[in-house]
């Protein structure tokens, strides 16, 4: 119960974050969506040994955290479950790729270690960017942006409804797990023998609930298209910001900026 309520609350917190006010929050959702996509594509496309070039990309999330006023801590707290998974992806690389790549003092670093770190960074950067997008853009506006990109209305409505529906289903789980634990005192979790009926019930209940909700929406004039939230105007500033970011991504991708900088200084 507590865990589920906690999950519900965290869900709400994301909504609350997205409802704050900052230059980033006020930016047109489509612009944010495109910048985020460009960033992720760019990050993912780095070669596995381009560690120093990739590292520069951290500047974008830092800038976004600064401008949006969203604490970095919140980000890592919310991502605490997925982050380790993403980081685990490259863990085996050092064992496969032992060829020495660079020499730091008298320590030889193998290609595997570099590619592992690169892979982890890619994952973390992509997650941070996605988080920043969601934390600064209400789901409704995001869906409105998707519609502007001509994503089919069916898909967008599905996305929005799923988002809404998760809370409804969590509530259902919470009620059922309460009912279960009241009659199974001292048990941790739900006993494996009850999983089948628990899941079956959950499915049936959720379907009933979904049907009721859908009827109630239809009765209030819903015809398959949400009135999407008021979308802020696309300002010249936003466009300039987008162009600036893209230029930076392109530069970081084409040249190894830290190396260039190093060459300049020495």
């Amino acid at each position: 119960m507590d865990k589920i309520n906690h999950a519900l609350d965290e869900f709400r917190e994301m909504d609350a974050l997205a409802a704050q006010d900052s230059p980033i929050h006020r930016m047109h959702p489509l612009v944010k969506l495109l910048i985020t996509l460009a960033y992720i594509l760019c990050v993912v496309s780095f070669h596995k040994y381009q560690l120093s070039a990739l590292a520069v990309m951290v500047l974008f999330p830092i800038l976004m955290f600064q401008l949006s006023g969203i604490p970095v801590r919140t980000c890592f707290y919310k991502l605490r479950i997925v982050l380790p998974l993403v980081c685990a992806v490259g863990l085996l690389n050092p064992f496969y790729d032992r060829a020495p790549l660079l020499q730091l003092g008298n320590i030889t670093v193998s290609g595997g270690v570099v590619s592992m770190i690169t892979l982890m960074l890619k994952g973390v950067f992509a997650l941070m960017a996605s988080f920043l997008l969601i934390a600064t853009t209400p789901m409704d506006s995001l869906c409105a942006a998707l519609r502007k990109l001509h994503v089919p209305s069916l898909l967008v409505t599905l996305l929005l409804l799923t988002y809404r529906y998760v809370t409804v289903m969590l509530r259902e789980v919470s009620v059922m797990s309460d009912a279960y634990h009241l009659r199974a005192p001292g048990q941790k979790g739900i006993h494996i023998s009850a999983w089948g009926s628990f899941l079956g019930q959950l499915l049936l209940r959720s379907m009933d609930r979904a049907e009721d909700l859908y009827e109630s929406m239809q009765l209030r004039g819903f015809r398959g298209e949400f009135y999407y939230a008021e979308v802020p105007k696309c300002t010249a500033g936003a466009v300039a910001f987008a162009l600036g970011c893209s230029a930076f991504f392109a530069a970081a991708r084409c040249w190894d900026l830290p190396q260039l900088l190093g060459n300049l200084i020495t």
Partner: protein, 241 residues
């Protein structure tokens, strides 16, 4: 406003639930729909709203026949407060839920917001406006559900068990809210005291048939009639207090 003409209905599997039901409700009337569990009260409401297909007989709402192609028009006319508020509220906050219908019917954000504020003030719920739907009590949720329907300004309102599971104070609030509405009202309930407080006319359903249709005062005082149909006199008329 609402006409049932010789309507019969059965669910796909099983015995008929309604048999030859006919009645007419005039604009502005407040009508109570009573009957034991399973008498068919909710079924009548769902037929009216076109949530169930009417196979036999004819149903008219505001002069328009209820059928597939008239559903948008019918549903614009009728507001339905569900028996279970949890099934009715799906937006994150009360405010967003209330905005849903007006926005769907093409009002601008400002117009819709004005309407929402007016309804909240009328029901004395202003402090619920920005609360989260999953963090308000059952009674508050019921009031909020009523508010979401009032915000769409229907010509007639249908309510399924509006007073169920409410404490006396909230129940009284709901009754006052109902009495404050000027539109046509059809209220299904077992709470005969509430029906007596809010409705001038009563339809009594039993075994799928309309067994009585008359003034609330008469029917709700008819001990024999009520008991023959698995109900009791309203508490306030029973002389037990």
């Amino acid at each position: 406003m609402i006409t049932f003409d010789n309507v019969s209905f059965s669910y796909e599997s099983g015995a008929p639930v309604l048999r030859g039901v006919s009645f007419h409700i005039a604009p502005g009337e407040a009508v109570g729909l009573i009957g034991a569990n399973g008498a068919g009260k909710s079924t009548i409401m769902k037929l009216l709203l076109g949530l169930l297909p009417c196979t036999e007989g004819e149903i008219l709402v505001d002069g328009v026949r209820v059928e597939k192609k008239t559903l948008p028009q019918i549903r614009r006319t009728l507001g339905f407060v569900l028996q279970d508020s949890d099934s009715q509220m799906f937006m994150p906050t009360v405010y967003e839920d209330m905005m849903f219908a007006p926005r769907n019917y093409g009002l601008s954000k400002e117009e819709a917001e004005q309407k929402v504020d007016a309804v909240l003030a009328q029901l004395g719920l202003t402090e619920l406006k920005h609360r989260h739907n999953h963090k308000i009590s059952g009674g508050e949720k019921r009031m909020a559900a009523i508010a979401t329907i009032l915000a769409m300004e229907p010509k007639a309102i249908l309510m399924d068990e509006p007073s169920i599971a409410l404490d006396p104070c909230n129940r009284r609030t709901v009754i006052n809210a109902i009495n404050g509405m000027r539109m046509t009202k059809l209220i299904a309930s077992h709470d005969l005291d509430m029906i007596l407080d809010t409705c001038s006319r009563v339809l009594l359903l039993s075994g799928g048939q309309l067994v009585a249709d008359g003034s609330a005062d008469e029917i709700l005082r008819d001990k024999a009639l009520l008991e023959a149909n698995r109900m009791e006199l309203p508490f306030c008329l029973s002389g037990r207090h």
